[in-house]
C-alpha cells in the first residue's frame, strides 16, 4: 500500500504535447504508471505515443476514467489548468510548473479548497492539489506522478517522505534507498510561497498508512509550515518523524531561489523551526546522511 497514488491511479497529463510534458509522460510510463490520457487544447483526437490526447480534462475523465492529473502547462496557463482539473472533479492534481504568478496560485488554491469542501460534503473523495513548483509524488514500486528519477523509487520501502525541496527529495530518497530502508510514498509539496498541500496535510495520510513505519520531513527556512507540522505531530502522530531543515545558514531578508525560502522578521528562522521540532520530540538531522541514522534510531526504539 501507499498514499495518494498507487497501481490503480489513472493519470492524465495536462500539456502532454509539450517538451516537458512529453518527456515526463514517457518516464512515468516507463516507471509503470498508468498514463491513460493527455490533454492539449486544440490537439484533441491526436495521440501521444499511443496515449489518447483530448481537448479538455473533463473529456479525459469521461473517456478514460482519469483520477489523477499532472500539469506541465506553462506558467501563464497553469492556474487555469488546475481549475479545469478541479472543476472536472479530479481528486488529485499535481502541478509541476515552476514560475506560476503567486496571485494566480492564491486564487487557485483557495478555489480548490472550496471545491474540495463541497465535494466532500457531497460525498465525494475530495479534491487535492499538490504543488506548484514541485517534483510531484511517487509510491515506490507502484506509480510515479512526478518528475523524480525513476531509479531511486523502483523498490518499495517503509519510510514516508515529504519535502519542500526538489533535489533534496531525490537526495534523501537515494540515501534511504542505499541504506536499505527505502521509501513508501514520496511527496514533493513544492517550495513556492503558496502551495496546495502542506506537511500537515500529508502527515495524517502517512499516520494512517499501514505500510509506512516512519516519516521524514524535509523543510527549509521561511514560512511556518514546519512549525505547523511540528504542532500536528505532537498532537496527532504516533509514528516516528525525523526532520531536516535546509538553509540554516542563510541570512535574513535574502530570498533563496524561491519566494518561500526567506526569513522575514522573526518568521521562518531555523531557530524557530528547530525549537518547534524539539518541542514535538522530532529529531532534526544536521546533515542529509544523518537523516538515515535518525530514522534507524527511531525505528529501533
Amino acid at each position: 500500500m501507499s498514499i495518494l497514488v498507487n497501481v490503480n491511479s489513472k493519470v492524465v497529463v495536462q500539456g502532454i504535447t509539450g517538451r516537458e510534458g512529453g518527456n515526463h509522460a514517457r518516464a512515468m510510463k516507463a516507471f509503470g504508471t498508468q498514463v491513460v490520457a493527455g490533454v492539449t487544447p486544440g490537439k484533441g483526437g491526436q495521440d501521444f505515443e499511443g496515449t489518447p490526447v483530448y481537448n479538455s480534462v473533463a473529456e479525459a475523465v469521461e473517456k478514460q476514467g482519469a483520477n489523477v492529473s499532472i500539469i506541465f502547462v506553462p506558467p501563464a496557463g497553469a492556474a487555469d489548468a488546475v481549475l479545469e482539473a478541479a472543476h472536472a472533479s479530479v481528486p488529485l492534481i499535481v502541478l509541476i510548473t515552476e514560475g506560476v504568478p503567486t496571485v494566480d496560485m492564491m486564487k487557485a488554491v483557495q478555489e480548490v479548497k472550496g471545491l474540495n469542501e463541497r465535494n466532500l460534503q457531497g460525498g465525494g473523495a475530495g479534491i487535492r492539489l499538490i504543488g506548484g513548483n514541485c517534483p510531484g509524488l511517487v509510491s515506490s514500486g507502484e506509480a510515479k506522478v512526478g518528475i523524480m528519477p525513476n531509479s531511486i523509487y523502483a523498490d518499495k520501502g517503509r519510510i514516508g517522505l515529504i519535502s519542500r525541496s526538489g533535489t533534496l527529495t531525490y537526495e534523501a530518497g537515494k540515501l534511504l534507498q542505499l541504506a536499505g530502508l527505502g521509501t513508501s510514498t514520496t511527496v514533493g509539496i513544492g517550495g513556492d510561497p503558496v502551495i496546495g498541500t502542506t506537511f500537515a496535510d500529508v502527515l495524517p495520510l502517512f499516520e494512517a498508512d499501514p505500510d509506512t513505519d516512519a516519516i521524514v520531513v524535509i523543510g527549509e527556512i521561511g514560512g511556518a509550515d514546519e512549525e505547523a507540522a511540528a504542532e500536528y505531530i505532537a498532537a496527532h502522530m504516533n509514528k516516528p518523524v525525523v526532520a531536516f531543515i535546509s538553509g540554516r545558514s542563510a541570512p535574513a531578508g535574502k530570498r533563496m531561489g524561491h519566494a518561500g525560502a526567506i526569513i522575514m522578521g522573526n518568521v521562518g528562522t531555523p531557530e524557530s523551526k528547530l525549537a518547534a521540532f524539539a518541542a514535538a520530540g522530532v529529531p532534526v538531522a544536521d546533515t542529509m546522511p544523518e537523516i538515515v541514522e535518525l530514522v534507524r534510531k527511531a525505528l529501533n526504539k
Binding site: 501563464a76 503567486t102 526538489g166 533535489t167 537526495e171 537515494k174 503558496v194 540554516r248 545558514s249 525560502a261
Partner: protein
C-alpha cells in the same frame, strides 16, 4: 522586481491612492529648480533599491532652496550599502505635527496562502523592527485574493488598529492599495508612513512596492523600470542566464547547485566546513554543459570567491555534462580558482575519465558533498591566508 519609491507611488496613484507627489531629479541643479517651483520646504530622498536609506543619510528635510541644493549634493553620488545614488525624489515636506503617522502594508503570506494586510498605529518605524518588538501592535487580516479587500473589512482593520480619522476615506485608501497589489502582482506593498491630516484624510508619504518576478510577463509596461545599474552586476548577469543568484556578504566560497534546496544545504555544508559561502546560485534543472559553463564563469567573476563548490544531484543530469562545462571554462582561461565538486548522477565514470584527461589540480570530483565542501573551504581559507600574508608582507 523592487520598485523605487517614486515608481511605487506612481502605481498607487494609478489605483486612486492619494500620495505625496514629487519629482525625480538627477542633479543638484534640478533639485534646486524643483524646490524653487514648490516654493516651500521639501524632502530630498535617495532612490535606491535598498532598505535603511534614512539611517544612511539618504533622506533629508530641506527647509530652504539652498538647503535642498546642499542636500542633493550630499545625497547624489553617495554610497548606500554598495549602491550609488543616481537620482533623488523631491517631495513637498508635510507638517508632521499637523497629523498622525500610521503604517499599512500588504504582503504575500504563505501561512494564510494569500495576502495579509497589516495595519499599525505606530507608523514611521520599520515594520520588521515593530514586528520583532511589539507584534501585538500590528493588526493582521487575510485578504481574499479573488475578491480583494472589501471596504467593510478595511474599516474593521482600521478600527482595530486604532486609526483616527475619516473611517471611510481610510478604508477606501486601503481598498485601493489592495486593488493595486492584486492587479500589479505585488509581493509587498507598504505605505509607511501613512499620514492622516487634521481633517482625517489619508496621504501616502512613502511606499515600498515589489512585484512578483513570475508575473512580470503581464506587466510589460513596467519593464522599463527595471534598472540594471541599481542592482549588483553579478545579479544582473545571473538574471540574463535565468539563474537564481544571491550575493552573500563576507563569503569566500562560490556555491552552485541544481535546485534551491540543494544550494541552501550546500551553503550550510560550507559553513559547517569552516568557510563562508559567497553566493547562492541555483542553475535549475537539466544541467547541460553550457549552463554549467555559464554558472562557473559567473561565479569566477566574483573577486570574493577563492574556491568554487559545485553540488549537483540529478537522476537525469549527466555528470559528464557537468564536467564538460567546467572543463570548457578551464580551457578558455575563465576558470582560475579551484573547483571542488560532487556530482551524483548518471555517467559518473565518463565524467571522471574527462577530468583525468585534462588532469588539472583546479578541478576535483568528490564522492559526497561534505568532502567536496571541505576541500573547497580549505582552498578558500588558505587562499585568504595567502592574501592576508601577502598583504602583511
Amino acid at each position: 522586481m523592487k520598485l523605487h519609491e517614486y515608481q511605487g507611488k506612481e502605481l498607487l496613484r494609478q489605483f486612486g491612492v492619494a500620495v505625496q507627489d514629487g519629482k525625480v531629479a538627477y542633479t543638484p541643479d534640478e533639485v534646486r529648480d524643483i524646490a524653487r517651483e514648490y516654493g516651500q520646504a521639501v524632502v530630498v530622498k535617495a532612490q535606491v533599491h535598498v532598505g535603511g536609506r534614512g539611517k544612511a543619510g539618504g533622506v533629508k528635510f530641506s527647509p530652504t532652496i539652498e538647503k535642498a541644493y546642499e542636500n542633493a549634493e550630499k545625497i547624489l553620488g553617495m554610497d548606500i550599502k554598495g549602491l550609488t545614488v543616481g537620482k533623488v525624489l523631491v517631495t513637498k515636506a508635510v507638517d508632521i505635527d499637523a497629523g498622525v503617522e500610521y503604517y499599512v502594508g500588504m504582503i504575500v503570506d504563505r501561512n494564510v496562502q494569500s495576502y495579509t494586510l497589516m495595519a499599525c498605529a505606530e507608523g514611521g518605524m520599520e515594520i520588521e523592527e515593530l514586528a520583532a518588538e511589539r507584534p501585538e501592535a500590528i493588526i493582521r487580516h487575510r485578504v481574499d485574493p479573488v475578491t480583494g479587500l472589501r471596504p467593510y473589512e478595511a474599516r474593521e482593520v482600521a478600527i482595530k488598529a486604532g486609526f483616527k480619522g475619516n473611517l471611510n476615506k481610510i478604508a477606501d485608501m486601503m481598498v485601493r492599495m489592495s486593488n493595486a497589489a492584486l492587479a500589479r502582482d505585488a509581493v509587498l506593498v507598504e505605505i509607511n508612513p501613512l499620514f492622516i491630516d487634521a481633517d482625517g484624510t489619508p496621504l501616502a508619504l512613502d511606499t515600498k512596492f515589489e512585484i512578483d518576478d513570475n508575473a512580470m510577463y503581464r506587466h510589460k509596461d513596467l519593464l522599463d523600470w527595471r534598472e540594471t545599474a541599481a542592482e549588483h552586476p553579478l545579479e544582473v548577469e545571473a538574471a540574463k542566464y535565468g539563474f537564481a543568484y544571491v550575493k552573500l556578504d563576507e563569503g569566500n566560497v562560490g556555491v552552485l547547485g541544481n535546485g534551491a534546496g540543494i544550494v541552501m544545504t550546500s551553503l550550510d555544508v560550507v559553513n559547517r566546513a569552516g568557510a563562508k559561502p559567497a553566493n547562492f546560485l541555483d542553475i535549475g534543472g537539466g544541467a547541460k554543459a553550457e549552463i554549467v559553463y555559464n554558472a562557473v564563469k559567473l561565479v569566477s567573476k566574483d573577486p570574493d570567491v577563492k574556491a568554487i563548490f559545485i553540488n549537483i544531484f540529478g537522476g537525469i543530469t549527466r555528470a559528464d555534462e557537468v564536467a564538460k562545462g567546467v572543463i570548457q571554462a578551464l580551457e578558455e582561461g575563465i576558470l582560475t580558482k579551484p573547483v571542488r565538486m560532487r556530482i551524483a548522477g548518471t555517467a559518473e565514470d565518463e565524467a571522471k575519465a574527462l577530468l583525468a584527461e585534462v588532469n588539472s589540480p583546479l578541478i576535483q570530483m568528490y564522492p559526497d558533498m561534505f568532502q567536496a565542501a571541505e576541500a573547497a573551504a580549505k582552498d578558500a581559507n588558505s587562499a585568504g591566508q595567502m592574501n592576508a600574508g601577502s598583504n602583511s608582507a
